[in-house]
Structures are given as C-alpha cells and as structure tokens.
C-alpha cells in the first residue's frame, strides 16, 4: 500500500539553530505511530513543521503527503487535504466563540470539496454529536475559543475539533501532558473512536501511560533532531522502566 506520509531527510531550523537534523519517517493509512523522546529532542518542531508553522525554516529534505509536496502548501491547504495538528498549547482566541470558529472551519472544508455550507440545524446537530465524543458540555460552544478553559478542557477541545474535521492524518502533540487520568481516558476514547482503516495518527508523547489507551503500531524515539530507534509497542514499556539513556548510548 502507498504511504500517506513520507518524510525524507528533513532538516529544519529556527534562526541559526538546527533542530531537525535528518528525519526519515513513513506512515501508511490505518497506522498509529508514537513519537517519544526527551525534552528538546525536536518532537514539537516536527509537528509544527508538518502543520506549516512559518517560525521554522526547512533547510533540506522533503515531505510527501498523499502524493503532494506538503512543504509547498499553506497551513489551510494542509488542513483541506486532511492534515490536523492537535496543539500542545492550544491558543486562546478571545472574542471568537467556539461555535463560530468551528462553523467557519467546517464550512470552509466543505467549500473546498465543492459542498454547500451546512444548515444551522445540521451544524448544531453535528457539533452536539462530536462534543459528546469528548464529554464536553454544550456551554463550551458559546464561549471564546479556549478562553478560560482548564488544561484538560483545552485538550478535549482539540480532540473535539479533530472529530469535527475528520482528518486523514492527525498529529497529536503531547495531547496527554497535564491531563489527569479521567481526561486522559476521555481524550484517548475520542481518538480510538476516530480511528479508521483510511486514516492515520502520529501521537507525540513523553509518557507510556497514553499508550496504554492508544495502542501504537510503531514507536519512534527522537533525539537531537533524529530518529534513533524504531520498534514495536513493547518499546514504550522499556522506556518507562529504563528511560532513554540506553537507547541514546546504543545510538552513539
């Protein structure tokens, strides 16, 4: 089967500092990949580069998504093509309500696919249905995007948005950080309900515990901007017990 995402020798910098130093990664539809690694290894940079954040400069390498040159696309074009980034730090947007935000996003996606905008009633029905995925109270829809949300509510809002947009490739950047066990379970259940044979997930995490709920097919360890180990799901347990040092030593 063809790859949904192919990253080849990806290098990226912020200013003079090179953060990604040659990433190679292939993902097929139906797969869940976990990316683990110590702080500062480049995990969030990788997700930001894939989503099109312009604070990073790609200096070398290529990213092919569904046969297209991903790096040539604007952030909104990537979203239209089915890419989704769940932010580690979801942004607060005072004055823009969650409902207006999602209405603009969903209808723009529909427009790009040549579909009519959803009627107000159909949109609200969809929104209620997807909010239930993450046990979000309907009062959230009228509030400003992420404004005054707790850490867990913000992460649930990310999964809610993902459920609304039904991406083909979702990158979840430390969605589990700062979550208690209940919120973690809610987030993981949302992800598992959205998993299909024709989509894929990249789950970036520090901890084994998320991977108890979201079971990856492959685990990659990122260190100093390179993937230094790729293995099956049993690797997460080993990391939990022994830390990263042995993998780092092995690779050096």
């Amino acid at each position: 089967m063809n790859n949904l995402l192919t990253i080849k020798n990806l290098h990226a910098s912020v200013g003079e500092k090179e953060i990604l130093r040659g990433i190679d990664l292939s993902i097929r539809a139906g797969e869940i990949h976990a990316i683990m690694g110590p702080n500062g290894s480049g995990k969030s940079t990788l997700s930001a580069v894939l989503a099109g954040r312009d604070t990073f400069t790609v200096t070398e390498g290529s990213v092919t998504y569904d046969g297209q040159d991903l790096l040539a696309m604007s952030p909104e074009e990537r979203s239209w093509a089915g890419l989704f980034l769940g932010f580690q730090y979801p942004v607060e947007i005072p004055g823009v309500s969650n409902v207006n935000f999602m209405k603009a996003a969903v209808n723009e996606q529909r427009k790009q696919r040549g579909l009519e905008p959803l009627s107000a009633a159909a949109f609200l029905k969809l929104m209620r249905e997807k909010m239930a995925y993450v046990e979000m109270d309907s009062s959230f829809s009228s509030r400003g995007v992420n404004v005054g949300f707790s850490g867990g509510e913000k992460k649930r809002n990310e999964i809610f948005q993902m459920a609304m947009l039904e991406p083909r490739l979702a990158i979840l950047d430390e969605t589990d950080s700062g979550l208690d066990v209940d919120a973690l379970r809610i987030v993981a259940t949302g992800v598992n309900r959205l998993k299909r044979p024709d989509n894929a997930f990249i789950v970036i995490t520090h901890y084994q515990r998320l991977l108890d709920y979201i079971v990856p097919d492959v685990i990659h360890v990122l260190y100093k901007g390179r993937i230094i180990k790729t293995a099956g799901r049993e690797l997460a347990l080993e990391i939990e017990q022994k830390g990263y040092d042995w993998i780092i030593n092995e690779s050096e």
Partner: protein, 223 residues
C-alpha cells in the same frame, strides 16, 4: 469647512442610549462636533461607529450634576487614504460622577487613526470614577495609529485610569485558525471582528447591534 455641530443635554435623572454610524465614502472631510452635558443623575451611553472616510470628531462632555454617568465608546475603521480622528474631553465638574471611554480602531491600507483623549477632574470633584482606553489594531504594514491619552486630575479622592495600545494581529491565533482550514483572509477577519466585539457589545439593542455588526463586517471584508 463648517463643522456639523450637535448638542446633547440630559436633564436630571434622564437616561439615553445613542448610536451614531458615520459613513463618508467620498473624499470630503467630515467634521463633527458634539457638545454634551449631563445634569444630576443623568446617564448617557453613546457609541460611535465610523465605518470609512476622513472624519474628525470632537466630543466634549461636561458632567455637571452629581451621580451623572457617561459611557462613551467608538469603533473606527480608517482604510486606504483615510484618516479618522477622535478628540475627546471628559470634564468632571462635580463630585461622584462616573465616565468610561473605550475607543478602538482597525486600520487598513495606509489609513491613519488618531485618538486624543482627556479626562479632566476639577478640584473638589471627589469620588470621581473615570476610565479611558484606546486600542488600535494595525491590519497592514502601512497603517498608522496615533494615541494621546491624558489625565488632568485636581482632586485627590478619585479612581481614574487610562491605557493605550497599538498592535498587530496575534500570529499564534492566526496560525491556529489557519491550521483548521480557515483561509488567511478569513482568519484575519475573524480576529478583527473579535477585536471590535467589545465596542459593539455596548450597543444595547440586539437588532441595532446585529445591523451595525454586519456593516462593520462588510467594511472590514472590503478593506
């Protein structure tokens, strides 16, 4: 050119809510003067929405009777080759009055926004509460905003504050919106509308607010 002068006088205990929408599509400069006085216990809410054109507003408010209150706000949207100017004098002549000023601009093209606001509290006008804020959003590189908030306070038992900012759209918000598939121009519009919301919320009538909101949106969409 002759200024268009208006007087608003509220007698004791009178209350009024007014909204002025200014739209000056031709090149002529619109000059308007507002001379406002409030007697004891009077309450005025006044919202200016200056959609486009070159406009000079001079607003003078005199709080003449105790417990009078004036809530003054303005949203102004100068675009290319336009300049919109608000000059406000809020004079607290007697004790125990309150006033707020909230003026916000979204400046596009090479437009210019100006705000020159004064709060004056005379000696003995104790227990005055007076606030003033001016926030400007520059939507293009060539846009400019000038702000001059001033306090002149001659009484010692008062609560007064003023603040002014000039800024641009937040790039983190913009990226977040775009990452959900909202195109750049639409994301900018959402942010600009969010910025204007605080002033539009001052319009008490929901029908009027909706109407003005759609005028503002149409204006920003075509800026």
């Amino acid at each position: 050119m002759k200024a268009n002068k208006q007087q608003i006088s509220l007698g004791p205990g009178e209350r009024r809510e007014l909204v002025f929408v200014q739209d000056q599509p031709d090149a002529a400069v619109l000059e308007a003067e507002w001379d406002i006085s409030l007697e004891e216990g009077a309450s005025l809410s006044l919202v200016f929405v200056s959609l486009r054109g070159s406009i000079r507003n001079r607003i003078s408010v005199s709080l003449n009777g105790e417990h009078a209150s004036c809530d003054l706000s303005g949203l102004y949207l100068p675009g290319d080759a336009e300049e919109i100017d608000f000059s406000v004098r809020m004079i607290h002549r007697v004790p125990a009055c309150s006033s707020t000023q909230l003026f916000k601009s979204v400046v596009s093209g090479n437009g210019v926004a100006r705000f020159d606001g004064l709060i004056q509290v005379v000696p003995d006008a104790q227990k005055t509460e007076a606030y003033q804020a001016n926030h400007n959003l520059l939507a293009s590189d060539a846009a400019r905003a000038f702000t001059r908030p001033q306090l002149e306070i001659y009484a010692d038992d008062v609560k007064c504050s003023h603040g002014a900012t000039i800024g641009r759209l937040n790039p983190d918000e913009l990226f977040y919106l775009r990452s959900r598939g909202i195109p750049l121009a639409e994301a900018q519009l959402l942010q600009q509308m969010a910025f204007t919301g605080e002033v539009l919320a001052k319009i008490a009538s929901p029908e009027m607010r909706e109407k003005v909101l759609s005028q503002v949106e149409a204006r920003l969409r075509n800026a």
